[in-house]
Each structure stands twice: as structure tokens, then as C-alpha cells.
Symmetry: C5
Subunit: 358 residues, 5 copies
């Protein structure tokens, strides 16, 4: 948990206070990433895949084909700047691409759309990582910018290569859709794992296996959900604006597909909200479990004490050293006292049982 | 409860990550269901009911009559695909029909409306089951798709057969209405059973018959209500959009009937919200009951201890072995001490009674 | 409380599942009510009041005068049907009139407005009863439908009879207004009684007269308020739609009066919300009272035990039977021990007082 | 608190159930107030102030000058009626003027605006009083109606008399503005006192000076804030409608001033909301303080008992009367036992200190 | 905390009740501030920076260049008045500039825009200070008004001096943007420190280092966040209105930059809301920690008492002085009793361990 609080601060502090608007400054932590650019260029009948060795190669794709250029390594701000200049991106867009503290958003410019998403996945420490991916949709191209290599786009690559589905028959707007769809699809995987964690907690709490970390772990879960919410919720607004959009960059027949993403997002967000409620219930149940356990302990004390305190009193009476205590002289006095005590004992047990305290 | 968490995950995980948009892949668990197709074809004067043995038979109904084709068995994706092609359904519609993790929704296409609902019923284990039903409303036909045989449409079948009510005089939009109305009517049955369960809980809690499962059972109830909400709430939006709709598929005079469904939905959702509040109150009352019970137990201890601790102290005093304790020599010392103790005892009883602790 | 849960269920279950839309089926419980119809017919100069013996008599009122027909006894569905046919009411309207589980609503038809309200009153068992009243506003008539005789319209009858106020100079829309105003006016009486109950609770709780029923009674109060809310809140929307309405049935100059009803409704709903908050506060205060009481009890135990446990220990010491305990031989040993004990006792009393625990 | 609950009821019950709409019936409690009318009549160069002895004098002001007539004493319904007739006020307006249970509102009529506000002040018992003031804004006049003499308008009177500020150069709409501004300005005084009370509570709770009344006093504070909210919140809507208003009664250049009132209202309502949150926090802190105190008491018992119970047991062992207990014969047995006990005692003290329980 | 409550009151009480609208009265506390005016005048090629010694110098800047006049010292109301007259500011604007209790807002006038913001920073006591800054945007000038010297605009000054970025090529609307951006940028610094504080608390609570001040400190944190919220939230609306604005003062190409501020504000407000949730969770965790600690203490008592109470009872039995207690005569009676006691002791330890209470 501490780690996450630090993470938030880190992201914020990277925004240099007083920085000139439009400055292209990388705000992430992966500063020794190597630049890796891959390009796909395809028409209905033909496709070409290249790994580019320098930025300028991005610029010589012909018209008439759809081009997808995927740039990895946001720390190479010079390269980003060059691409930005070639594609005539607004200075603020260039700044936002390398500033990884963006919320998911869409900005519409005259010749292109700028979309920012968060790609979610679990890292090797079972922590949710939220990586920023920026998209530029132009007339015949899509640019994607990622912090580092490794993404959820392999299925898209395969479909381009093998011409599966409609992708090779459609325009750049459909390519953007498949890429965004791949990101959103992956959210299902993430929240499925979240669901597993919550289920494990439930099992643990119902079986009474609770330790002092439960409260801390529940806090951690709450924050993971908070993180996922932050990444996913604003996205609905993004898709919404794409649907309502009147730019010529998104064709009318592709809108249906974006609406499909929207439906998926609603499903994901509904599940997130259900998980939120579940976690609150978990906390409640945990509290109830703790308090029931404590009550059980207290009840034992209560009953022990309530039974033995009067008996000890009786024993105390006949431990007094008065010279004249008639009962002490009776031959069977001792046994009578035992009798009284056992009667009292059984009477109280009976009373407690009747009251359902035992 | 654990089961339900698993259910959610199951539904989610069935959405194959990276699946090509428009792939018709069944996501449910009833994979050995046999295909069962029934068709009704009727005009004002005439009606015909057939059980179809293969999919192609669905396609040869004449114009001028209203046709209802009810397809059961979503695992038969080939059949679904064939129907989809014949009726020219959009690929995403075909995908949604067999993907049973949809939210209730309406999608409007040029020639048809696509509506998804959830049919709710209690299964043999007293668990609420939510089964997806998809409707296609065309100019002169309604298609319904269900996971398995068995539904809430028997009253509609009877009305077509016997020409009861207006159904045979109306168009396909009225048929869709009667089918949706049948689904919504059944919600009343489901929430009535929910109401019964809540009432039973209330009786149990007020009569003090609470055990450790109460908290778990209340959790289960909360989730059932959550499930019902998820199935029913989005439906209001669906009906709303049908009402506001300007397609020629829904006639103006039928809108009134849809508004009636809307009113029913509002009643159902209001009752759900009341049940939600009741359950929260139940939890509160349960907590209060538990804590009152504990307090009662504690009070007994307190009073026992408060009374006997001083008495035992007095007995202890005269149990000391000092050589010179004058009281011990007094002939009636023992009886005087008893007198003091009984006075103390009665005094404390009186005090506690006055304080209303007893 | 249990009763109410049952009531809700009852209302719901009466809606026959699978019933043909537009079926006129009475869903209430007062099935042996006799049919009672009264009619008022008036112009500016003249008025006539009749008690009708059969339904057909409702139909022969002349044009040019305002007619109010008040039908009591919804179990007489045949009569309702006849009236419905004569006044050409939509089948769904006829169904809604006799289905007493409606929410307050307004439906606009071409020739008439259909308004449903809830009349609230306390019955002889001090329980709030919510009785449905339906209004049909036509061009020159108002029809009202009630479950049983007895209502809040006596002041309206008097005003028609005696020509008091503006009623005889106005149209049917003003008659509808006065009737609705009478219903809303009565809400003030109902919430005034609610306010009394809450005040009594407050007095009881502050004076510490709390028993185990408090929690149950507070639940009952919460539900009464819930019931009142359900009856009143949707009404605001109804009035709102009357105000915004562009039908020719409501004259522009009458709108001002409806706005006055709206203001009253806002006052009522504001008071309901204040009562809701008060009840939550009551529950809090009750809890605090209970817990303060418990704390007081616990404190007595704590202090008793803390004081006497060490003293008893000292007595125990000198009750030991060691052969050589020098103190026991001292002549004044006993008195010294007493001195020590009393000093300890006073010291602890002083300490507790200083700590403000006593 | 009880008083306030009664007050609410009183206000409600004064609305006569079944009263004819438009009946001018005073609903307040100050029924022996004498009628007091003052009038200001001014132009840029000239002003006149009169105390009117009867109502008719209100009617003979000339055109061309701005007239403010301030009527005190709503129990004089005849006078109000006469004024209402002369200025052609709608019957519902007349009814609302004397019915002091209005919410702040604005009603627009053809020739005048009707505004109702609540004037707030602390009475001599340190209770907030909410007095209704009604305003009629006509073309060249403003009428104000108050329950009794004494108001917050003295600064306005002075400005008219001395021609300070813009008031004498402006129209009647500016006069209405200054009057409303005076009312809103006074809200600051009221919530400042509220703030003082809350601060005093805070000081008391942090210094631990809490008694049983705290809970009751916090309830009282909550209700005062509720009362203030009810008086102030609807006013924002009123000002809003004045701003959006297209009547010719409010000049465009005066709108800016009304917007200023709106800003003040937002400031007041923000402060009220902050106070609300503070009070909730106070309640929490109070609860924490109470429970911390209790815990401290319990801890003392726990430690006392945990230390002395085993020691007393040891003393009990050697108080047994067995014929053969070897330790009792040892010469230093007694001192050894003391040694054991002191060791145990110190050991437990050390353990508790280590655990930070002491 | 007390300080803050006082602060709120102070701000409120400074608004003189009954003050004439448009009176220019300074409401802050820094009344001995000296007047300090600096002016920047620049075109694309040229820039001039001056420290003005009197107000009149503000008025002689030529057309064609952008002028920024920064006035510090709101207590010098005469100077403010003179500037207000020269620039023809509305009286209410002049009043608002020196009334430091404004909410962030924008007012649009014909020739200029009036914007009020709050500048946030931590003072030397680690308290958040919220200082009001007012902006007037005219055709070729920006005026800024601050309470005292010292601000967050140094980076803007440097950019003007050194011609860095676009600032010297743009109009006055861009200057306003850079100034507002500097203020918003600083918010990141403030909430970063807030984040640090919350993190420190978390570490403290998880490591169990909690003292009685925690509750008070959490209250303080809550209020700081409240303060920050109040300063920042209304600003979103301000930027929104700038974006939607149709005045010619803001050029279309600058809107994009304002949208960038908006994005930053959303990020800040999202973080504030996350911090709010964190603090609530902290309070919960603190409560849980406290209560767990208490439970642990109680458990020790329970177990101690439950074990030793029966043992002491047994010792009491054989401390009785009956003449005939056969066990006392047995040679090994004493050792047998020890055996029984040790068995009981171990048995109970075993039982408690099995129950996981130990």
C-alpha cells in the first residue's frame, strides 16, 4: 500500500512545476528503455511488416495503404519530437504523449484524433500496473506510443498478417478500433484476477482463518480497484465522444464497432462496482467475525466468573477463623457445603443454558 | 455466495481475450443442449404452429402473416450463423446473441431491432438464475433466442393459439411487447419470493433465533438483490428508448403498451430498492440483537462480581491468622458478619434495581 | 412491520403473472364492497347532486355543465368496464384503475387525462393506509374511482353545494385541482401525526425510558416514512407534467393553482426528509444511550474489582498457614493491616475521582 | 430540540385542511401584533418617508417615483386583502403572504414578481428564528410584508434617506436587490455565530470536558443547521430564476447585482456544508473520546485483575489446611513465597510495559 | 484545527453587514502591507520590465504591446480604486478584488474578463495558506491583484524576459493562460505534500505507533483537504466557461491551452478525492488498530481470570475450617490437589489454544 501512495506522488512530482507548456519531457521511470519502432503497412491484398531502425523511416509510407506505426520507448523524446513534427502534432499533444500521468482522454484536432488509454496488467509481483498508450488516428495511419515493449496487440498483428476478420478490408478507424478493443479485452483478464482474490478472501473469512493482515490486505484490494476504476471509467466518456463525433476520420459503419467496445466497458465497470460492494461487505464480515470471536471469549470469562465467584465466597465463609461457627462442628458440614455448591453450580449451568448463553 | 463470485468470473472468462470482433462463439456452459426451434405463423383469421427440424425451414414463411421463431440452444452456433445470414443480422448482433454475458440493451439497425433481456427464475436449489433472451424484431417477424428450452412464454403461445386478447389483430411489434411483458411479469414472482425470504429473516431476528449464519445469509440476500438489479435496471433504459424511438418498426399505438411495461418495471425496481433498504435495516437489527445479547451477559457478570467481590473480601479478612483479632473471640461474631454481608447484599441489589440495571 | 412486508407481497402477487394486457381485474382485498356512485352536476348558477343506483345513469349528463362522478367499489369490475366503454377509456387505463398497486402517475390520452394518486390516512390501528384514487379528466367531466366509501373530498362537496370559492365559475380542470388539493392537504395531517410520534420517541429516549422495543419501533417508523415517500414523491413529477402540459384540457389560468399544489408537495417532501434525518439521529441517540448505560454498568464493576482485588489479596496473605509469619505475632498486626487496607482503599478512590472515573 | 419538532408541527397544522384555495388566513402565532406600515417614496433628487396610519394611504403615490411600502403585522388580514386588491395580486399570492410556512420561492406574474424569503436571526434564547418576508416588485414600487416590526433593512433606509450609493439613481428592481442583499448579508452573521458554537464544542471535546449533554447539544446544532439550510438553499434557485428571467421588471444592468447576491449565497451555503461536515466529525470525535475513556478504565481493571488473580491464588494455596504441606514447615517459607509473588508482580508489570499496555 | 474554524469566521465577519454594494473595502488581515506594483510590457521583439512607484504610471502603456501589471497589497484600496476607474471596472469587480473571501469564479463584462483564483502554498508552520489572486484580462493587458508580494509567477517572468516558449508571440489571453497554469501547476506541489503526510500516517498506523493525537491529526488532514477542495473545485467551472466562452478576448487557438489546464485540474481533483478516500480508510484502520489492541488486552484478562478463578476456588475449599474434612488427613492430599490443579491448568491452556484464543 505504501508503495502505491508513493507511486501517485511520483507521478505527480514528475510534472515539473513551472515547465513551459508544450515541453516534451518524459515523466516516467523507465529511462533506459531502447527505442523500438515497428510498422505495418497493408491494403486488402497486400501487407508489409518492418522493424524500423530510425525515426525517419516512419515517414516514407505511400498513400492508399493503411499504416500502423508502433513506437516503444517514451524516454527517446527526440524521436517523439521528430515524429510529432512530421505528422504536425500540436505541441500539447507531444507533451501529453510522453507525460505518463494522463487520464484516458480524447482530443480532436483538425487532421487527427489523439486518444490516451491505460493498458492494465499484473506484473510479476502480483501488482496491477497501468501503462499509458497514446494513439494518433490520421486519415490513413494510426500511431501508437508505449513506454516499453510488450503489449496486448499480438492478436491484432496476427489478424493483419493472416488477413483474418475484416481488418484488411477496412480503414484506419477500424484499426484504431481493434487496438482499443484489444486493450479493453485485457481489462476482463485483470478484473477476473481481482475477482479471484476477492473470492479467496471470502473463503478465508468464512472459514475463520483471519489474521491481522486482513485489514491491510483489504485496503490493498480497495486501492487496486481504485486504480482500475481510474484507468477505465474515463474511457467510457472517450468512446462516447467517438460515437457522437462528426469528424470524417471515423466512418459511420465503424461506429457500431465502437458501440460494442462501449458495451464491454459498461460490463467491466459494472463488475468493478460489484467488486467494490463485495469488498465493503467483506470488511463488514471481517469486523463481525472479529467481534463474534471476541464475544465468545468474553462469554467464557463471564460464565466462569459468574459460576465460581459465589462458590469461592462460600468457601471463604467457612475459612473464617471465628471461634464459634456452629456449622464447622457438624460432622457432615463439609459434605453439606459441597452439596450446596454442586447444586448452585448445576443451577447456574441450567440457567445459562436456558438463556442460551452456553 | 462463493458460487456466485465464481459465476461472475466464469461469465467473464468466457469472453476470449483477443477474439476477432463478430466471432460467433457461445460463452455459456450448457454445451450439450439440443437445438429446438418452434415457429408460430398467424394472421387475424388463421394460425399455424410448427416444430422445425432444421434451420432452413425458418426461412420459408410467406409475407402478410406475423411469424415468431423461437430458437433454443445457443451452443448450436452454426444454426445461429445460418439464421443470422438469412435475416442479414450484423456480425456483432450474431456475436451478442450467443455471448450470454450481455447487459439488457437495445440496438437499432436499419431493418430490425435487437433487444437483449434477462429472464429471471429460481432454480431447484432456491438460487436465482438469470437466463439471457435475445429478440430480433423485423417487419413481420420476431426471432427469440434462448439458451435452453423452458421459458415464461406459455401464456403468449396460448393467446396466439386461442386468439385471446388483441394479439392476432396486431403487428409484430405487439408480439414483441407481449413477449417482453411476459418476462417482466415474471420478475414480480421472483421479487415476491425475495420478499418472503426477507420476511422470514425478520421474524427470525425479532424472535431472537439468530445463529452464526445470519451474517452469511444476509450477504447472500444482498447479492441476489444485486443480481436482480443488474438484470432489471438497464431494462428501463431499453423500454425508454423503444418509447422515444422513431423507427417504423414500432407503431405509435403500440407505444402505450410499452409504457405500461415501463410502469411495471418502475414498480419492480422500487420494490427492489425497498428490499435493499430492508436488508440494510435487518443487518442493523441483527447487530443490535447480538450486541444486546452480549450486553445482557456482561451485565450478569458485572452484577455477580460487584456483589460477591466485597463479600469475599470480608470473608478473607476473618480468614486471616493474626494471633489477636478481637472480633474472632466474640461469641456472636460469626453471626454479626453474616448480618453485615446480607445487609450489604440487599443494599447492592436495591441500588442496582434503582439504577434499573437489574 | 411483518404486516407491511406481507402487504407489499400481497399487492405484488395480485398482479396475475401472464395476465392478458388490458384485463380489468381488481387486485385489492376489499372484495365485498358495495358499489356506490355519486354524481355532481353544476354550472355557475345551478347544481344537482345525485346518488346513482346503476352505472348507466352516469351517461346521461348534458353538455354545458361540469359533471363529477365519484365511483366507489373497485371490486365491481363490470361497472368499471361499462363506464370505461362509455367514456372510451383505453384498455390499459381500465386495467390500471382496478389494479391498486399503481404508483402515482399521469397518462395523457387524446381526449382525457388519467391521473393516479394515493390517499393517505391513519386507520383505527394507528397504521398508515394508502388508498388508490384514480381521476379521469375529460372536457366537461371528472371521474374519480376509489376502493371504498369514505374520502377527503367533503370540503369539495360543500364548496360545490354552497358555491363557495371559485369552483362553480371554473371548468373541469379546476375541479380536478380542488380534488387533488384535498388529497395533498390531507398529507399534512398524516405527516403531522408522524411528527408527533417522532417527538414522543425523542422525549422517551432523552428521559432514558428505553426498552427493547425501541429498535423495532424505530424500524416501524422508518417504514411508515418509506410508505409515505412512495405515495408522495412520484406525485411531484405528476404535477410537473400537468404544468408543462400542452393539452387543451388544462387551461392556462388553472396552471397557477397546480403550481400551488406543487409548492405544498415540496413542503411535505421536505418535512418527510427532515423526519427521515431525525429518525436516523434518533437511532444514533438510542444507540448512544444504550452504550452509555452499559458503560456505566461496566465502570461500577471495574471500580469494585479494582479496589477489592488487591485488598482480598492482602487478606489472603495473612490467611496462609506458614508456621513462621512474623506479622501474625505482632499484637497490633491485625489493626495495622486494616490501616493499610483503608489507606489503599481511600487512595484508589482518590485516584479514580481524579481521573473522573467516579 | 423538542421545541423545534413542535415548531415544525405547529407550522404545518396551521394550514387548515380543506381550506378554500386563495383564502387569506394568517398561519403564524403572533396574533396580537399591531399593524405598522411605513412608506418611502423617492426620486433622484427627492425623498419622502411616512408612517401610514391606515391602508388606503398606501395607494396614493404618484407615478415617476419609486415607492417602498413596508407592511408589518400579517395578522391584519383585512389590511393585506385591501392591499392585495388595490395592487391586483393573485388570490394565491395573498394567501401565501400570510401563510408563513412558505419555502423561499419566486412566482412571476404579468405585472409583478412575488418573492418569498426567510430572514434569519438569533432570538434572546440563542435560538435561530426564521421569519418570513414577502416582496412584491411592481413597475415602480416594492411591497414588503413582515410578521412583526424589527428587521435587517435599516441600512437600506439610511441609504435612501442620505442618498448614499446608487440607490436613488436606480429603479425599483435595484431597491428589491438592496433589500434582498440585506437579508442575505445577515445570513453571514447567523452562520458566524453557528461557527462560534461549533468551535466551542471542539475546544470542549479536545480538552475532554464532555458530559452527557454533548450528544443532545450536537443534535440541536444539527437541527439549527438544517433549519438554516432550509431557509437558504431554495433561495439560490430564486436568484437563479431572477437572473434568467426575461420580464421587463428586472433591468439588464441590475442582473449583475443579483449575480453578486448569488455569489454570496454560494459562499454561505458552502460554509453551511462545511459546518455540517464539522458537526459529523465532532460527533465522531466525541464517540472516540467516550470510547477511549472507557477503554482506559477497562485497561486498569484488566491489569489489576491480571496481576492480583494469580497472586491471590498462591496465597490461597498456603491457606489450605492439609495436615501435611511441607513448605509450611520451612522456616523461611513465608519469605520465599513473598519473593515469588514480588517476582511475578514485577514480571507482569514488565510484560505489560513491553506490550505498551501500561 | 481551532485556528481554521477561527479563520473561516474571520473571513466571514469581515464582510460588513449592511455594507453598500460596490464599496471597496479590504477584508483581509495583512493591513500593513506596502504597495508594490510591477509591470511587464512586451511585443515579439522587445520587452520592458518596470517597478512602478505610483499608480498613475500603470496607465501610460502604448497600444500594440502586451502589458502585465501585477499589483501587490490589497490594503491600499485607494490605489485599487484608481486603477479600477482607469480601466473602467464595474464597482462590484472592485469590491470583489479586495474582498478576499471570494470563491474562484469568472465574470464576463463587455470589455474585460474578471477571474478570481486561489493560490495555495504551505506556510512556515506547515499549514496550507490559500491566497486570493484576481485577474483582469483586457484586450492588450492583464492585471493581477495579490494580497502580498511573493507568488508562483517567477517562471512566467523568466519566460517573458528570455522569450522562451511561445509567450512573446501570443496575445494577452495566452499571458492569462500562463499565469493561471502557473497557479494550477503549484497545486501539484501542495497535494504532493498532502500525499506525503497521508503516507506518513499510514506507516505510523501500520507499525502500531498510534497515540491519542491521531484522531485530532486526521481531523486536521480532513480539513486541509476540504480547504484545498474549496479552492480548486470551482476552478473547473471557471475554465469550462472560458472554453465555452464566445468573447473575442480569448482567441480560438488559445482555447486548446485552457483545455490543458482543465485536464490538469481533473488530475488534481481526482487525486484529492483519492486522498479523501484514503483518509477515511486511515480513520477506519486506526479504529480497527485501537480496537484490536483493546481486544488483545481483554483477552489476557479473560484467560488469566478463566484459568485462576477455578483454581482459587479449589484452594478455598481446602482452606475451610470444618472439623471433619477427610481429604485434609490424607498424607498426600496436598500433592494430589496440586496434581488436580496442574491438570486443570494444562487442560484449559490446551482448550484455549485449540480455540485459537491464545
Amino acid at each position: 500500500m505504501l508503495k502505491m501512495a508513493k507511486k501517485i506522488r511520483t507521478q505527480l512530482s514528475k510534472k515539473k512545476v513551472g515547465q513551459i507548456p508544450g515541453s516534451v519531457i518524459y515523466t516516467g521511470v523507465k529511462s533506459n528503455q531502447k527505442l523500438f519502432i515497428e510498422a505495418f503497412d497493408y491494403t486488402k491484398d497486400h501487407y508489409e511488416e518492418r522493424e524500423l531502425t530510425n525515426v525517419e523511416e516512419c515517414f516514407n509510407f505511400e498513400e492508399g495503404s493503411i499504416t500502423w506505426i508502433n513506437i516503444n520507448g517514451l524516454n527517446h523524446v527526440d524521436a517523439i519530437e521528430k515524429i510529432g513534427e512530421h505528422y504536425e502534432l500540436h505541441p500539447l499533444v507531444r507533451e501529453d504523449i510522453v507525460n505518463i500521468a494522463q487520464r484516458p482522454k480524447i482530443d480532436e484536432y483538425d487532421d487527427y484524433l489523439f486518444v490516451v488509454l491505460k493498458m492494465l496488467y499484473y506484473d510479476s509481483n502480483e501488482k496491477i500496473v497501468s501503462e499509458q498508450v497514446s494513439f494518433i488516428l490520421g486519415k490513413e495511419y494510426v500511431l501508437t506510443f508505449q513506454e516499453a515493449e510488450g503489449d496486448v496487440f499480438d492478436t491484432v498483428r496476427d489478424r493483419i498478417r493472416q488477413g483474418k476478420g475484416r481488418i484488411r478490408n477496412m480503414q484506419a478507424d477500424y484499426l484504431l478500433y481493434t487496438l482499443m478493443d484489444a486493450v479493453v479485452d485485457h481489462y476482463f483478464t485483470v478484473i477476473e484476477i481481482l475477482g479471484d482474490k476477492i473470492e479467496d478472501f471470502e473463503t478465508a473469512i468464512f472459514s475463520g482463518k483471519v489474521d491481522n493482515d486482513v485489514s491491510k490486505n483489504i485496503q490493498d484490494l480497495k486501492r487496486e480497484i481504485l486504480k482500475v476504476r481510474r484507468a477505465i471509467f474515463p474511457l467510457r466518456e472517450v468512446i462516447n465522444r467517438i460515437e457522437k463525433n462528426d469528424t470524417s476520420l471515423i466512418l459511420k459503419k465503424t461506429i457500431t464497432y465502437y458501440r460494442d467496445i462501449y458495451d464491454h466497458l459498461i460490463q467491466v465497470t459494472e463488475n468493478i462496482d460489484i467488486y467494490r460492494e463485495m469488498i465493503w461487505s467483506l470488511m463488514d464480515m471481517y469486523m463481525t467475525t472479529i467481534s463474534n470471536k471476541m464475544n465468545e471469549v468474553m462469554k467464557v470469562l463471564t460464565i466462569m466468573a459468574s459460576i465460581f465467584i459465589p462458590l469461592t465466597f462460600i468457601a471463604g465463609i467457612y475459612g473464617m477463623n471465628f471461634e464459634y461457627i456452629p456449622e464447622l462442628k457438624y460432622k457432615y458440614g463439609y459434605f453439606v457445603v459441597w452439596g450446596v455448591m454442586i447444586t448452585l453450580f448445576l443451577g447456574m449451568i441450567y440457567y445459562f443454558r436456558k438463556k442460551k448463553w452456553l
